[in-house]
Amino acid sequence: MKDVPDIAMTIAREVEAFEGLLPAVERFLEANAIPARQAFLARLALEEMILNLIKHSQGGSNQIDVSIQRHPKELVIGIEDDGAPFDPRALPKKRFDQPLVERAPGGMGIHLVCSMMDDVRYGRRADRNRLEMDIRLPQ
């Protein structure tokens, strides 16, 4: 049985709209007693992938659909938009072995999501991108 309803919201493709989503996310995580590690990963997934869309997505409307579902064994975070096709898993692997003076500070967000989430799935249906990220819950 769920303690609180899942999150399903549509926000504008703007930083201010993402920031406006965060209180609802915090309430959801707290009300569901999501453990610290899984809550941290949920915040990370949402920030990295939504800000990436805000910064780089091209075409489509100005809207992003965001969902967080609590299943018995995992959290599933969904992000959907109607911009140009974009599969973050298909990006070339980022190199992190350059010395400090050669390191560019950007390009780390998608790598963090793909390496720290338990599963990342992407699909394109009806001209929409659908990204799902799983975060396993302790049993």
């Binding site: 993402f18 590690r37 920030e47 990295e48 390191r103 500070p105 780390m108 967000g109 790598h111 720290m116």
Partner: protein, 115 residues
């Protein structure tokens, strides 16, 4: 939200603590100040992460950008005592290979002296 707290020192080393959540909102709150304490001063710097609860790639980018600017002027940054999940993020993007990460202030001072 995030904030910066500076600990006054008499040895020419800057010691600052990042506190709270270094997400997009936290970055807005501390970015300019952090650059002021680090990249602008160009002095050896300890960044205490003990009370930093969250960091995203934006926060990591701020640390790298300032450490890089300092390095160009011969000054070193050391990160001190990150919480386990913050340490995991830093490790995932190779930060410990370019900015030393240590367990405590004394160890951080030692790392600055070795530089």
């Amino acid at each position: 939200m995030a904030e910066i707290q500076e600990t006054a020192r008499a040895d020419g080393i800057t010691q600052v603590a990042l506190v709270g959540k270094l997400d997009v909102r936290g970055l807005h709150a501390v970015d300019i100040k952090f650059h002021g304490y680090t990249a602008a001063r160009r002095k050896p710097t300890l960044v205490d992460l003990t009370q930093l609860e969250f960091i995203s790639s934006l926060g990591v980018g701020m640390l790298i950008s300032c450490a890089k600017s300092m390095a160009r002027h011969g000054a070193k940054m050391v990160l001190v005592n990150p919480q386990p999940l913050v340490a995991e993020v830093l490790a995932a993007v190779g930060v410990p290979e370019i900015i030393p990460v240590v367990g405590g202030i004394d160890e951080g001072l030692q790392a600055l002296k070795v530089a």
